[in-house]
Protein backbone atom coordinates (compact mmCIF):
# COMPACT_ATOMS: atom_id res chain seq x y z
CA UNK A 1 0.00 0.00 0.00
CA UNK A 2 1.54 3.30 -1.04
CA UNK A 3 1.99 5.66 1.88
CA UNK A 4 -0.30 8.69 1.71
CA UNK A 5 1.69 11.71 0.64
CA UNK A 6 2.86 13.61 3.70
CA UNK A 7 2.51 17.36 3.39
CA UNK A 8 5.86 19.10 3.22
CA UNK A 9 7.58 20.33 6.33
CA UNK A 10 7.42 24.08 6.85
CA UNK A 11 10.74 25.91 6.87
CA UNK A 12 12.08 25.63 10.42
CA UNK A 13 12.95 28.65 12.52
CA UNK A 14 16.51 29.01 13.71
CA UNK A 15 15.44 28.64 17.32
CA UNK A 16 13.56 25.44 16.56
CA UNK A 17 10.28 26.90 17.75
CA UNK A 18 7.04 26.14 15.99
CA UNK A 19 4.92 29.23 16.45
CA UNK A 20 1.47 28.09 17.48
CA UNK A 21 -1.05 29.40 19.98
CA UNK A 22 -1.62 27.17 23.05
CA UNK A 23 -5.02 25.90 21.92
CA UNK A 24 -3.59 24.95 18.52
CA UNK A 25 -0.76 23.07 20.21
CA UNK A 26 -3.26 21.17 22.32
CA UNK A 27 -5.55 20.44 19.39
CA UNK A 28 -2.61 19.18 17.33
CA UNK A 29 -1.77 16.71 20.08
CA UNK A 30 -5.40 15.59 20.25
CA UNK A 31 -5.64 15.08 16.48
CA UNK A 32 -2.15 13.68 16.13
CA UNK A 33 -1.18 16.49 13.79
CA UNK A 34 2.51 17.28 13.30
CA UNK A 35 2.72 21.05 13.73
CA UNK A 36 5.88 21.27 11.65
CA UNK A 37 3.73 20.36 8.64
CA UNK A 38 0.98 22.89 9.27
CA UNK A 39 0.90 26.13 7.32
CA UNK A 40 0.16 28.85 9.83
CA UNK A 41 -2.00 31.75 8.71
CA UNK A 42 -0.75 34.32 11.22
CA UNK A 43 2.25 36.64 11.18
CA UNK A 44 5.52 34.67 11.05
CA UNK A 45 3.46 31.62 10.12
CA UNK A 46 1.82 31.54 13.51
CA UNK A 47 -0.51 28.54 13.69
CA UNK A 48 -4.05 29.00 14.96
CA UNK A 49 -6.71 26.46 15.84
CA UNK A 50 -8.35 26.89 12.43
CA UNK A 51 -5.05 26.12 10.69
CA UNK A 52 -4.77 22.81 12.55
CA UNK A 53 -8.39 21.96 11.79
CA UNK A 54 -7.93 22.83 8.13
CA UNK A 55 -4.76 20.75 7.92
CA UNK A 56 -6.38 17.77 9.58
CA UNK A 57 -9.48 17.95 7.36
CA UNK A 58 -7.36 18.24 4.22
CA UNK A 59 -5.33 15.21 5.33
CA UNK A 60 -8.39 13.06 5.95
CA UNK A 61 -10.02 14.22 2.71
CA UNK A 62 -6.94 13.17 0.72
CA UNK A 63 -7.86 10.11 -1.36
CA UNK A 64 -6.93 7.06 0.68
CA UNK A 65 -6.09 3.78 -1.08
CA UNK A 66 -8.56 1.06 0.06
CA UNK A 67 -6.77 -1.78 1.80
CA UNK A 68 -6.27 -4.69 -0.57
Amino acid sequence: QPAPQAPPQMPARNDGRVLAVPAARQLARELGVDLTRVQGSGPNGRIRVSDVLGHSQAASAAPAQPAA
Binding site: V21, P22, R25, Q26, R48
Partner: protein, 467 residues
Protein backbone atom coordinates in the same frame (compact mmCIF):
# COMPACT_ATOMS: atom_id res chain seq x y z
CA UNK B 1 3.97 66.08 0.70
CA UNK B 2 3.28 69.30 -1.19
CA UNK B 3 5.11 72.32 0.14
CA UNK B 4 2.53 74.85 -0.99
CA UNK B 5 0.75 74.56 2.38
CA UNK B 6 2.17 75.82 5.66
CA UNK B 7 1.79 72.34 7.16
CA UNK B 8 1.22 68.79 6.01
CA UNK B 9 -1.20 68.36 8.90
CA UNK B 10 -2.85 70.80 11.20
CA UNK B 11 -4.44 69.20 14.24
CA UNK B 12 -7.24 71.11 15.99
CA UNK B 13 -7.29 70.34 19.68
CA UNK B 14 -4.45 69.01 21.83
CA UNK B 15 -6.37 66.49 23.92
CA UNK B 16 -5.25 62.85 23.95
CA UNK B 17 -6.60 62.36 20.44
CA UNK B 18 -4.98 65.46 19.07
CA UNK B 19 -1.60 65.16 20.71
CA UNK B 20 -1.26 61.51 19.75
CA UNK B 21 -2.11 62.40 16.17
CA UNK B 22 0.33 65.31 16.11
CA UNK B 23 3.24 63.38 17.60
CA UNK B 24 2.73 60.30 15.41
CA UNK B 25 2.45 62.49 12.29
CA UNK B 26 5.72 64.15 13.28
CA UNK B 27 7.35 60.78 13.94
CA UNK B 28 6.40 59.87 10.39
CA UNK B 29 8.20 62.92 9.02
CA UNK B 30 5.27 65.25 8.38
CA UNK B 31 5.30 68.99 9.08
CA UNK B 32 2.76 69.30 11.87
CA UNK B 33 0.96 72.02 13.77
CA UNK B 34 -1.46 71.59 16.64
CA UNK B 35 -3.87 74.35 17.65
CA UNK B 36 -5.23 74.44 21.20
CA UNK B 37 -7.37 77.17 22.70
CA UNK B 38 -7.00 76.12 26.32
CA UNK B 39 -4.29 73.87 27.74
CA UNK B 40 -2.52 71.02 25.97
CA UNK B 41 -3.67 67.62 27.21
CA UNK B 42 -7.34 68.41 26.69
CA UNK B 43 -10.06 67.22 29.01
CA UNK B 44 -8.19 64.02 29.84
CA UNK B 45 -5.05 65.51 31.35
CA UNK B 46 -6.50 68.76 32.68
CA UNK B 47 -9.95 67.96 34.00
CA UNK B 48 -10.62 64.29 33.23
CA UNK B 49 -8.79 60.99 33.45
CA UNK B 50 -5.76 62.16 35.37
CA UNK B 51 -7.00 64.46 38.15
CA UNK B 52 -9.86 62.06 38.95
CA UNK B 53 -7.37 59.21 39.34
CA UNK B 54 -5.24 61.36 41.64
CA UNK B 55 -8.23 62.09 43.89
CA UNK B 56 -9.34 58.47 43.77
CA UNK B 57 -5.91 57.34 44.92
CA UNK B 58 -5.90 59.83 47.77
CA UNK B 59 -9.35 58.71 48.87
CA UNK B 60 -8.37 55.06 48.72
CA UNK B 61 -5.39 55.72 50.95
CA UNK B 62 -7.77 57.02 53.60
CA UNK B 63 -9.79 53.82 53.34
CA UNK B 64 -6.63 51.68 53.33
CA UNK B 65 -5.40 53.32 56.52
CA UNK B 66 -8.69 52.36 58.17
CA UNK B 67 -8.46 48.76 56.96
CA UNK B 68 -4.87 48.52 58.22
CA UNK B 69 -6.34 47.93 61.67
CA UNK B 70 -7.23 44.42 60.46
CA UNK B 71 -3.56 43.51 60.54
CA UNK B 72 -2.68 45.53 63.61
CA UNK B 73 -1.60 48.85 62.15
CA UNK B 74 -3.39 51.79 63.74
CA UNK B 75 -2.87 55.51 63.56
CA UNK B 76 -3.55 58.43 65.81
CA UNK B 77 -5.64 61.35 64.65
CA UNK B 78 -5.80 61.68 60.88
CA UNK B 79 -5.67 65.04 59.11
CA UNK B 80 -6.40 65.91 55.53
CA UNK B 81 -4.90 69.14 54.25
CA UNK B 82 -7.34 69.89 51.45
CA UNK B 83 -5.25 72.67 49.93
CA UNK B 84 -2.30 70.31 49.72
CA UNK B 85 -4.50 67.63 48.17
CA UNK B 86 -5.67 69.99 45.44
CA UNK B 87 -2.12 71.21 44.93
CA UNK B 88 -0.71 67.70 44.63
CA UNK B 89 -3.34 66.81 42.05
CA UNK B 90 -2.67 70.04 40.13
CA UNK B 91 1.05 69.29 40.25
CA UNK B 92 0.56 65.96 38.49
CA UNK B 93 -1.58 67.64 35.85
CA UNK B 94 1.05 70.30 35.35
CA UNK B 95 3.82 67.74 35.03
CA UNK B 96 1.90 65.81 32.40
CA UNK B 97 0.73 68.78 30.36
CA UNK B 98 4.25 70.19 30.56
CA UNK B 99 5.43 66.82 29.32
CA UNK B 100 3.17 67.02 26.28
CA UNK B 101 4.47 70.51 25.57
CA UNK B 102 8.03 69.19 25.75
CA UNK B 103 7.15 66.29 23.45
CA UNK B 104 5.71 68.78 20.94
CA UNK B 105 8.99 70.68 20.98
CA UNK B 106 11.16 67.59 20.75
CA UNK B 107 9.08 66.19 17.89
CA UNK B 108 9.02 69.59 16.17
CA UNK B 109 5.25 69.96 16.35
CA UNK B 110 4.35 73.63 16.02
CA UNK B 111 2.03 74.52 18.87
CA UNK B 112 -0.49 77.22 17.94
CA UNK B 113 -2.10 78.78 20.99
CA UNK B 114 -5.67 79.86 20.30
CA UNK B 115 -8.97 78.83 18.83
CA UNK B 116 -8.85 77.40 15.33
CA UNK B 117 -11.72 78.27 12.96
CA UNK B 118 -12.00 77.06 9.42
CA UNK B 119 -11.79 79.74 6.73
CA UNK B 120 -12.01 77.24 3.91
CA UNK B 121 -11.20 73.56 3.54
CA UNK B 122 -7.44 74.20 3.50
CA UNK B 123 -7.23 77.21 5.80
CA UNK B 124 -7.85 77.92 9.46
CA UNK B 125 -7.59 81.07 11.45
CA UNK B 126 -5.92 80.91 14.87
CA UNK B 127 -6.00 84.18 16.75
CA UNK B 128 -5.31 86.82 14.11
CA UNK B 129 -3.23 84.57 11.85
CA UNK B 130 -4.27 82.13 9.16
CA UNK B 131 -2.55 78.86 8.37
CA UNK B 132 -2.94 76.50 5.46
CA UNK B 133 -2.53 72.77 5.59
CA UNK B 134 -2.84 69.84 3.23
CA UNK B 135 -4.77 67.89 5.87
CA UNK B 136 -6.63 68.63 9.06
CA UNK B 137 -7.43 66.47 12.03
CA UNK B 138 -10.38 67.69 14.08
CA UNK B 139 -9.94 66.64 17.68
CA UNK B 140 -12.05 69.19 19.49
CA UNK B 141 -13.41 66.75 22.06
CA UNK B 142 -16.46 67.12 24.24
CA UNK B 143 -17.91 68.99 27.19
CA UNK B 144 -20.32 68.15 30.01
CA UNK B 145 -23.97 67.94 29.04
CA UNK B 146 -26.23 70.38 30.93
CA UNK B 147 -29.33 69.48 32.88
CA UNK B 148 -32.25 71.91 32.85
CA UNK B 149 -33.19 72.96 36.36
CA UNK B 150 -29.69 72.42 37.75
CA UNK B 151 -27.63 75.46 36.86
CA UNK B 152 -23.90 74.75 37.34
CA UNK B 153 -22.17 77.45 39.42
CA UNK B 154 -18.99 75.36 40.03
CA UNK B 155 -19.36 76.04 43.76
CA UNK B 156 -22.30 74.13 45.12
CA UNK B 157 -23.73 72.84 41.86
CA UNK B 158 -20.78 71.55 39.88
CA UNK B 159 -19.97 69.59 36.77
CA UNK B 160 -17.00 67.21 36.66
CA UNK B 161 -14.58 70.12 36.33
CA UNK B 162 -15.93 71.86 39.43
CA UNK B 163 -16.02 68.59 41.36
CA UNK B 164 -12.28 68.20 40.85
CA UNK B 165 -11.61 71.06 43.24
CA UNK B 166 -12.15 69.51 46.65
CA UNK B 167 -13.81 72.12 48.90
CA UNK B 168 -12.70 72.74 52.47
CA UNK B 169 -14.51 71.56 54.46
CA UNK B 170 -15.53 68.52 52.45
CA UNK B 171 -19.31 68.64 51.83
CA UNK B 172 -21.22 66.64 54.40
CA UNK B 173 -23.98 65.67 51.96
CA UNK B 174 -23.25 65.14 48.30
CA UNK B 175 -25.55 64.26 45.42
CA UNK B 176 -24.24 62.81 42.16
CA UNK B 177 -26.78 63.19 39.40
CA UNK B 178 -25.89 60.45 36.93
CA UNK B 179 -24.83 56.91 37.77
CA UNK B 180 -22.25 56.49 35.02
CA UNK B 181 -18.50 56.18 35.24
CA UNK B 182 -17.87 59.79 36.17
CA UNK B 183 -20.67 59.90 38.73
CA UNK B 184 -19.35 56.86 40.55
CA UNK B 185 -15.73 57.90 40.45
CA UNK B 186 -16.63 61.15 42.20
CA UNK B 187 -19.04 59.37 44.54
CA UNK B 188 -16.16 57.14 45.59
CA UNK B 189 -13.74 60.03 46.07
CA UNK B 190 -16.15 62.08 48.18
CA UNK B 191 -17.23 59.07 50.23
CA UNK B 192 -13.65 58.31 51.14
CA UNK B 193 -13.12 61.99 51.98
CA UNK B 194 -16.00 61.77 54.44
CA UNK B 195 -19.10 62.92 52.53
CA UNK B 196 -22.39 61.07 52.74
CA UNK B 197 -23.02 60.48 49.03
CA UNK B 198 -26.13 59.63 47.08
CA UNK B 199 -26.02 58.71 43.40
CA UNK B 200 -29.17 58.94 41.31
CA UNK B 201 -29.60 57.43 37.86
CA UNK B 202 -32.50 57.90 35.48
CA UNK B 203 -32.18 54.44 33.92
CA UNK B 204 -33.06 51.20 35.73
CA UNK B 205 -29.37 50.33 36.02
CA UNK B 206 -26.09 52.13 36.69
CA UNK B 207 -22.94 52.12 34.52
CA UNK B 208 -24.64 51.65 31.16
CA UNK B 209 -22.65 49.41 28.84
CA UNK B 210 -21.25 47.18 31.55
CA UNK B 211 -22.24 43.55 32.11
CA UNK B 212 -25.30 43.09 34.34
CA UNK B 213 -23.60 40.67 36.76
CA UNK B 214 -20.61 42.95 37.03
CA UNK B 215 -22.81 45.97 37.68
CA UNK B 216 -24.65 44.09 40.40
CA UNK B 217 -21.44 43.15 42.21
CA UNK B 218 -20.05 46.64 41.70
CA UNK B 219 -23.16 48.31 43.08
CA UNK B 220 -23.19 45.99 46.08
CA UNK B 221 -19.61 46.92 46.88
CA UNK B 222 -20.29 50.65 46.47
CA UNK B 223 -23.31 50.40 48.75
CA UNK B 224 -21.28 48.46 51.31
CA UNK B 225 -18.90 51.41 51.33
CA UNK B 226 -21.74 53.75 52.16
CA UNK B 227 -22.83 55.13 48.79
CA UNK B 228 -26.62 55.31 48.46
CA UNK B 229 -27.77 54.39 44.96
CA UNK B 230 -31.19 55.26 43.58
CA UNK B 231 -31.98 54.15 40.04
CA UNK B 232 -34.97 55.31 38.00
CA UNK B 233 -34.66 58.62 39.73
CA UNK B 234 -34.20 62.07 38.28
CA UNK B 235 -33.43 65.51 39.63
CA UNK B 236 -35.99 68.08 38.51
CA UNK B 237 -34.67 71.26 40.01
CA UNK B 238 -32.42 72.67 42.65
CA UNK B 239 -32.79 75.66 44.90
CA UNK B 240 -29.92 77.10 46.89
CA UNK B 241 -30.91 77.94 50.46
CA UNK B 242 -29.04 78.79 53.64
CA UNK B 243 -29.02 75.17 54.84
CA UNK B 244 -27.95 73.71 51.49
CA UNK B 245 -29.20 72.94 48.00
CA UNK B 246 -32.78 71.70 47.99
CA UNK B 247 -33.15 69.24 45.15
CA UNK B 248 -36.42 67.84 43.93
CA UNK B 249 -35.94 64.16 43.18
CA UNK B 250 -38.52 62.20 41.24
CA UNK B 251 -38.99 58.47 41.12
CA UNK B 252 -39.69 58.06 37.40
CA UNK B 253 -41.60 54.82 37.95
CA UNK B 254 -44.00 55.98 40.64
CA UNK B 255 -43.89 59.69 39.88
CA UNK B 256 -43.27 60.30 43.57
CA UNK B 257 -41.39 63.51 44.34
CA UNK B 258 -39.27 64.36 47.38
CA UNK B 259 -37.06 67.25 48.36
CA UNK B 260 -33.61 66.37 49.68
CA UNK B 261 -30.94 68.75 50.90
CA UNK B 262 -27.27 68.54 49.92
CA UNK B 263 -24.11 70.59 50.37
CA UNK B 264 -22.79 69.86 46.91
CA UNK B 265 -24.47 68.58 43.78
CA UNK B 266 -22.53 67.06 40.87
CA UNK B 267 -24.20 67.03 37.49
CA UNK B 268 -22.68 64.14 35.52
CA UNK B 269 -25.32 63.23 32.99
CA UNK B 270 -23.12 62.62 29.98
CA UNK B 271 -21.00 64.58 27.57
CA UNK B 272 -21.63 66.18 24.22
CA UNK B 273 -19.29 66.74 21.28
CA UNK B 274 -17.82 70.23 21.00
CA UNK B 275 -17.58 72.12 17.73
CA UNK B 276 -18.32 75.69 18.83
CA UNK B 277 -16.10 78.24 17.12
CA UNK B 278 -14.78 75.67 14.67
CA UNK B 279 -16.74 76.89 11.67
CA UNK B 280 -16.78 73.37 10.29
CA UNK B 281 -19.31 74.33 7.65
CA UNK B 282 -16.80 76.66 6.00
CA UNK B 283 -14.73 73.59 5.18
CA UNK B 284 -17.81 71.68 4.09
CA UNK B 285 -17.52 69.29 7.02
CA UNK B 286 -20.75 67.68 8.15
CA UNK B 287 -21.78 68.11 11.78
CA UNK B 288 -24.68 65.89 12.87
CA UNK B 289 -27.72 67.10 14.81
CA UNK B 290 -26.17 65.79 17.99
CA UNK B 291 -22.95 67.68 17.23
CA UNK B 292 -20.70 64.84 16.09
CA UNK B 293 -18.34 64.95 13.11
CA UNK B 294 -18.57 61.34 11.98
CA UNK B 295 -15.60 59.54 10.45
CA UNK B 296 -14.92 56.34 8.55
CA UNK B 297 -12.43 53.62 9.54
CA UNK B 298 -9.56 55.79 8.32
CA UNK B 299 -11.02 58.60 10.44
CA UNK B 300 -11.91 60.63 7.36
CA UNK B 301 -14.85 63.00 7.65
CA UNK B 302 -17.09 63.62 4.66
CA UNK B 303 -14.27 65.84 3.34
CA UNK B 304 -11.43 63.54 2.23
CA UNK B 305 -8.46 65.47 3.64
CA UNK B 306 -10.18 66.44 6.88
CA UNK B 307 -10.15 63.81 9.63
CA UNK B 308 -12.18 63.59 12.80
CA UNK B 309 -11.09 61.69 15.93
CA UNK B 310 -11.93 61.19 19.56
CA UNK B 311 -14.96 62.43 21.45
CA UNK B 312 -16.06 64.75 18.64
CA UNK B 313 -16.13 61.83 16.20
CA UNK B 314 -18.17 59.25 18.09
CA UNK B 315 -19.00 57.40 21.25
CA UNK B 316 -17.68 55.91 23.49
CA UNK B 317 -16.05 59.09 24.71
CA UNK B 318 -12.87 57.59 26.07
CA UNK B 319 -9.29 58.77 25.96
CA UNK B 320 -7.80 55.51 24.66
CA UNK B 321 -10.27 55.50 21.80
CA UNK B 322 -9.25 59.08 20.97
CA UNK B 323 -5.56 58.08 21.09
CA UNK B 324 -6.06 55.13 18.79
CA UNK B 325 -8.02 57.23 16.32
CA UNK B 326 -5.35 59.92 16.47
CA UNK B 327 -2.66 57.42 15.54
CA UNK B 328 -4.80 56.02 12.73
CA UNK B 329 -5.49 59.44 11.24
CA UNK B 330 -1.82 60.42 11.38
CA UNK B 331 -0.72 57.17 9.76
CA UNK B 332 -3.33 57.37 7.03
CA UNK B 333 -2.19 60.90 6.20
CA UNK B 334 1.39 59.64 6.06
CA UNK B 335 0.27 57.10 3.49
CA UNK B 336 0.15 54.05 5.75
CA UNK B 337 -2.70 51.54 5.56
CA UNK B 338 -3.89 52.15 9.10
CA UNK B 339 -7.46 51.51 10.19
CA UNK B 340 -9.48 51.76 13.37
CA UNK B 341 -10.20 48.04 13.40
CA UNK B 342 -10.24 47.42 17.14
CA UNK B 343 -12.22 44.37 18.17
CA UNK B 344 -13.13 46.06 21.43
CA UNK B 345 -12.69 49.26 23.38
CA UNK B 346 -12.17 48.75 27.11
CA UNK B 347 -14.09 50.63 29.78
CA UNK B 348 -13.05 51.24 33.38
CA UNK B 349 -14.50 52.72 36.55
CA UNK B 350 -11.44 53.48 38.68
CA UNK B 351 -13.08 53.02 42.06
CA UNK B 352 -12.06 50.35 44.56
CA UNK B 353 -12.94 47.72 43.54
CA UNK B 354 -12.52 48.79 39.96
CA UNK B 355 -15.07 47.78 37.36
CA UNK B 356 -13.32 47.08 34.08
CA UNK B 357 -14.43 45.38 30.94
CA UNK B 358 -13.57 44.79 27.32
CA UNK B 359 -15.63 43.13 24.62
CA UNK B 360 -19.21 41.96 24.71
CA UNK B 361 -21.36 41.64 27.81
CA UNK B 362 -23.24 38.38 28.16
CA UNK B 363 -26.43 40.12 27.07
CA UNK B 364 -24.82 41.87 24.09
CA UNK B 365 -23.38 38.57 22.93
CA UNK B 366 -26.79 36.89 23.15
CA UNK B 367 -28.43 39.82 21.40
CA UNK B 368 -25.95 39.45 18.57
CA UNK B 369 -26.99 35.83 18.19
CA UNK B 370 -24.02 34.13 19.80
CA UNK B 371 -24.53 30.93 21.74
CA UNK B 372 -22.43 31.65 24.81
CA UNK B 373 -20.82 29.94 27.73
CA UNK B 374 -19.55 31.94 30.66
CA UNK B 375 -16.89 31.48 33.29
CA UNK B 376 -16.61 33.19 36.62
CA UNK B 377 -13.97 33.30 39.33
CA UNK B 378 -14.49 35.27 42.56
CA UNK B 379 -11.65 37.19 44.20
CA UNK B 380 -12.84 35.79 47.52
CA UNK B 381 -11.11 32.58 46.39
CA UNK B 382 -7.88 34.36 45.43
CA UNK B 383 -4.97 34.17 47.86
CA UNK B 384 -3.45 37.30 46.41
CA UNK B 385 -6.68 39.24 46.87
CA UNK B 386 -6.81 38.15 50.50
CA UNK B 387 -3.28 39.40 51.14
CA UNK B 388 -4.28 42.71 49.52
CA UNK B 389 -7.42 42.90 51.71
CA UNK B 390 -9.53 43.26 48.58
CA UNK B 391 -11.72 40.27 47.95
CA UNK B 392 -14.83 41.89 46.50
CA UNK B 393 -15.71 41.04 42.93
CA UNK B 394 -14.83 38.51 40.26
CA UNK B 395 -13.62 37.88 36.74
CA UNK B 396 -16.35 36.91 34.33
CA UNK B 397 -15.66 35.61 30.87
CA UNK B 398 -18.07 35.45 27.94
CA UNK B 399 -17.12 32.87 25.34
CA UNK B 400 -18.64 31.56 22.12
CA UNK B 401 -19.96 28.10 22.89
CA UNK B 402 -18.82 26.06 19.90
CA UNK B 403 -15.54 27.75 19.11
CA UNK B 404 -14.37 28.69 22.62
CA UNK B 405 -13.61 32.14 21.17
CA UNK B 406 -13.33 34.85 23.79
CA UNK B 407 -16.01 37.52 23.37
CA UNK B 408 -15.76 39.60 26.52
CA UNK B 409 -14.11 39.91 29.92
CA UNK B 410 -15.71 41.70 32.86
CA UNK B 411 -13.81 42.32 36.04
CA UNK B 412 -14.91 43.78 39.35
CA UNK B 413 -11.93 43.84 41.65
CA UNK B 414 -8.57 45.28 42.64
CA UNK B 415 -6.22 46.24 39.78
CA UNK B 416 -8.93 45.25 37.32
CA UNK B 417 -7.77 47.88 34.84
CA UNK B 418 -4.29 46.37 34.74
CA UNK B 419 -5.72 42.92 34.11
CA UNK B 420 -7.57 44.32 31.10
CA UNK B 421 -4.22 44.32 29.32
CA UNK B 422 -4.37 40.56 28.99
CA UNK B 423 -8.08 40.52 28.23
CA UNK B 424 -7.76 43.14 25.51
CA UNK B 425 -4.82 41.42 23.84
CA UNK B 426 -6.70 38.12 24.00
CA UNK B 427 -9.67 39.65 22.19
CA UNK B 428 -7.51 41.29 19.54
CA UNK B 429 -5.60 38.05 18.95
CA UNK B 430 -8.82 36.07 18.65
CA UNK B 431 -7.73 33.96 21.60
CA UNK B 432 -9.88 31.19 23.01
CA UNK B 433 -10.58 30.51 26.66
CA UNK B 434 -8.28 27.52 26.19
CA UNK B 435 -5.39 29.77 25.16
CA UNK B 436 -5.75 31.66 28.42
CA UNK B 437 -6.29 28.53 30.48
CA UNK B 438 -3.12 26.93 29.11
CA UNK B 439 -0.98 30.00 29.77
CA UNK B 440 1.01 29.89 33.01
CA UNK B 441 0.09 32.86 35.19
CA UNK B 442 2.42 33.79 38.02
CA UNK B 443 1.34 32.80 41.53
CA UNK B 444 0.09 34.48 43.62
CA UNK B 445 -1.33 37.20 41.39
CA UNK B 446 -4.69 38.73 40.68
CA UNK B 447 -4.11 37.84 37.03
CA UNK B 448 -4.40 34.18 38.01
CA UNK B 449 -8.08 34.84 38.47
CA UNK B 450 -8.31 35.51 34.74
CA UNK B 451 -6.82 32.07 34.19
CA UNK B 452 -9.27 30.49 36.61
CA UNK B 453 -12.21 32.23 34.98
CA UNK B 454 -11.09 30.71 31.69
CA UNK B 455 -10.79 27.30 33.35
CA UNK B 456 -14.25 27.75 34.81
CA UNK B 457 -15.66 28.19 31.29
CA UNK B 458 -14.66 24.53 30.88
CA UNK B 459 -15.83 23.67 34.41
CA UNK B 460 -12.23 23.06 35.38
CA UNK B 461 -11.31 25.89 37.70
CA UNK B 462 -9.25 24.53 40.58
CA UNK B 463 -10.08 26.87 43.45
CA UNK B 464 -13.88 26.79 43.19
CA UNK B 465 -16.43 24.09 42.63
CA UNK B 466 -17.61 24.28 39.04
CA UNK B 467 -21.37 23.89 39.06
Amino acid sequence: MTKSYDFDVLVIGAGPGGYHAAIRAAQLGLRVACAERESVGGVCLNVGCIPTKALLHAGEQIAAARHAADFGLTFGEQKMDIAKLNGWKDGIVKKLTGGVGALFKANKVTHLQGQASFVDDHTVQVGDKTYTAANFIIATGSEPARLPGLEVDQQVIVDSTGALVMPDPVPARMLCVGGGVIGFEFAHVYTNMGSKVKVIEFLPTIIPGADADAVKAFQKSMEKQGIVVATQTKANRAEKKADGVHVELENVKTGEKTIEVFDRVLVAVGRRPRTDGLNAQKAGVTVTDRGFIPADKQQRSNVGHIYSIGDVASNPMLAHKAMKEGLVAAEVIAGKPAEQDAVAIPGVVYTNPELAWVGLTEQEAKDKGYEVKTGNFPFSASGRAMTLQQTDGFVKMVVEKDTDLLLGVHIVGPHASDMLGEAGLALEMAATATDIALTIHAHPTLAESVLEAAESVHKQAIHIMNR
